[in-house]
């Protein structure tokens, strides 16, 4: 399988990724879900087993698709940048884009498709505004490499980084309503909702957004 775009933390008790558990909490049980860039199907199987969803996936790597097939997950080998256009409107209750938007060629177009195909969209991404990223770039003068973002600039699959503030702005631009927004700190734990945006943008390693078409 192609390497994951980021290396998020896992919950030691269940073995599930913390951001996946957070996403799973946002999904109504029994709903129809499309996971775009579903990798080996870890999130889809979590959603199937815990939330009884009718889940589908798109994955670019053949190894990922085969891993999903072996889990009994209906996953299509395809590319978020080109294949979302083929899905009908309102086909899913939720379309999930987990740690993938920063690896797409046209994040805005992809986000618009998510909101068209799904009644709701869930997007999670690494926050490029995190203080460690800012230190790398601002003080060290180097492209950031963190535990969460382990790639050199020349071999990274991540070509469209954004900060939490940037993403909020994009949501406004495409007319998405934010139903829920969560920032995960370096420990993978949700930060207090009462904190202002600038704190999230500085201390959040990841942003997870539940969006709805306006």
């Amino acid at each position: 399988m192609s390497l994951p775009t980021t290396l998020p933390l896992t919950d030691t008790a269940s073995g599930h990724r913390l951001d996946f558990l957070l996403v799973a909490d946002m999904v109504e049980p029994g709903s129809r879900v499309l996971d775009v860039g579903c990798g080996d199907g870890a999130l889809l199987s979590l959603l199937r087993d815990r939330r009884q969803v009718d889940g589908r996936g798109i994955e670019i790597s053949r190894e990922g698709v085969n891993a999903c097939l072996a889990k009994g997950l209906p996953v299509i080998q395809g590319d978020a940048d080109t294949d979302l256009a083929d899905y009908p409107d309102d086909a899913f209750d939720y379309v999930i884009l987990s740690q993938t938007i920063q690896a797409t060629r046209q994040p805005k177009v992809v986000l618009e498709h998510l909101l068209r195909i799904g009644r709701r969209a869930i997007v999670s991404f690494p926050n490029f505004g995190h203080w460690r990223v800012r230190v790398d770039l601002g003080l060290r003068g180097r492209m950031p490499m963190t535990e969460n973002l382990p790639y050199s600039w020349y071999d990274t699959p991540n070509i469209h980084f954004c900060t939490i503030r940037d993403f909020v702005e994009l949501c406004r631009e495409v007319g998405a309503q934010m139903e829920k927004a969560v920032a995960l700190n370096a420990g993978g734990q949700p930060m207090r909702v009462t904190l202002p945006w600038w704190v999230w943008n500085l201390l959040g390693e990841q942003g997870v957004f539940l969006l709805k078409r306006r």
Binding site: R32, R56, R62, V65, N66, A67, C68, L69, A70, K71, G72, L73, P74, V75, I76, Q77, G78, D86, Y87, P88, A91
Partner: protein
């Protein structure tokens, strides 16, 4: 399996074919719940001998890589059925069969066959075997067309469908290739207007040319180059003649000759025609998605990167329609340079996908 005059096969051409028969092979054991039956659908020139030595050619079964003990279609777990298509020449009623009305071979009096006719004949066989629902229907190329037709016509009788290297409609280019093949057969004076069996002749040359042409379409340029290049056949230099100087020529001639030994020329006309006519969407107001609307069947579609006869775009069209129909569908494009024939060859990625899909479906169905 024989069907009498009281059980005609209702064909798309508007003819009730009776009596008729369908030749088939089975492997493995049907379980008590009759829930483990897998139907294998063969391609244009295939037959029912999918996993046993072919009685005509003496060669091993045509899909031993996919079907057999421990294979993705595991005959230790599943009851596997494979039947010769209607219009074929390996025991199922076809143009070489005797027309009861005349006592002579049907020849061109045999009604034109369609893919839905083939599937209807298989359904009659499955009924006769006492199987209500197939666990899985699997096939490549024309076999894949039958898989799609099964799912479209009998959605409640197919739990899982595995169409490989196929299309929901035959392309203009493919119809064109078939037409060239048919014209080669019919241009052979020994064809005798299709009545060669009566007249004791055989249009071997025409059928061999048809096969040679078709065989090229099953391969890829890369595969041809790797296998043959511009190598000479048993000679060091060109002979300045029209002898088979090149290995590829010799190979194609051999393929042509070997084919006419085992295949009936009129069957070739009929079965290629069935593929040409195939267009599932046409029967559903031009919408492929409508053909699969509300289908309970789970699908896994597989294509190959170098297949230019049934390219990935054909498979993607199926996948898009199934998505639009909210069907459960998986899709894998296998990286291979072997062309259309890849589905019959050693392709570990295809086996991995098929095995994953079938095993997961078997778990859901509770098949041990």
């Amino acid at each position: 399996m024989r069907f009498g005059t009281d059980e005609p096969l209702m064909m798309d051409a508007g003819i009730a074919l009776a009596p008729w028969q369908i030749a088939y092979q089975t492997y493995g054991t049907l379980n008590a719940e009759k829930s483990n039956a897998v139907l294998i659908c063969h391609a244009l020139t295939g037959d029912q001998h999918v996993a046993n030595d072919n009685p005509v050619t003496g060669k091993p079964g045509w899909w031993l890589t996919m079907v057999g003990p421990g294979r993705p279609v595991d005959t230790d777990r599943f009851f596997v059925i494979c039947a010769n298509v209607i219009g074929g020449c390996m025991g199922t009623t076809g143009p070489a069969s005797i027309n009861p009305a005349t006592g002579q071979p049907y020849a061109l009096d045999f009604p034109v066959v369609t893919i839905p006719d083939m599937v209807r004949a298989q359904a009659a066989l499955i009924d006769r075997l006492g199987i209500e629902k197939l666990f899985c229907v699997v096939g490549g190329s024309m076999g894949g067309m039958q898989v799609l037709q099964w799912a479209a016509a009998y959605p409640d009788r197919v739990f899982a469908a595995l169409p490989i290297a196929t299309a929901a409609r035959h392309s203009a280019q493919n119809i064109a290739f078939h037409e060239v093949g048919r014209q080669a057969v019919m241009a052979d004076p020994e064809w005798r207007g299709g009545r060669y069996l009566n007249e004791g002749t055989r249009p071997s040359k025409g059928l061999a040319v048809a096969r040679m042409g078709a065989h090229i379409t099953y391969l890829s340029e890369v595969a041809l180059h790797r296998k043959f290049g511009r190598n000479f056949q048993d000679r060091a230099a060109p002979t300045f003649s029209f002898d088979a100087d090149f290995q590829i020529e010799s190979y194609l001639r051999y393929q042509g000759i070997a084919f006419v030994e085992r295949f009936d020329a009129n069957s070739y006309l009929y079965v290629t025609r069935a593929m040409d006519y195939f267009d599932i969407a046409a029967e559903h107001g031009g919408s492929l998605a409508k053909a699969f609307k509300g289908t309970p069947t789970r699908f896994c579609v597989i294509s190959f990167t170098s297949d230019w006869l049934f390219p990935t775009s054909d498979s993607r069209a199926i996948v898009h329609a199934l998505n639009a129909a909210a069907a459960s569908v998986a899709f894998v494009e296998v990286e291979s340079d072997k062309g259309h024939d890849a589905f019959l060859l050693e392709e570990p990625e295809m086996f991995a996908a098929a095995r994953g899909f079938i095993d997961a479906a078997a778990r859901v169905q509770g098949i041990a």
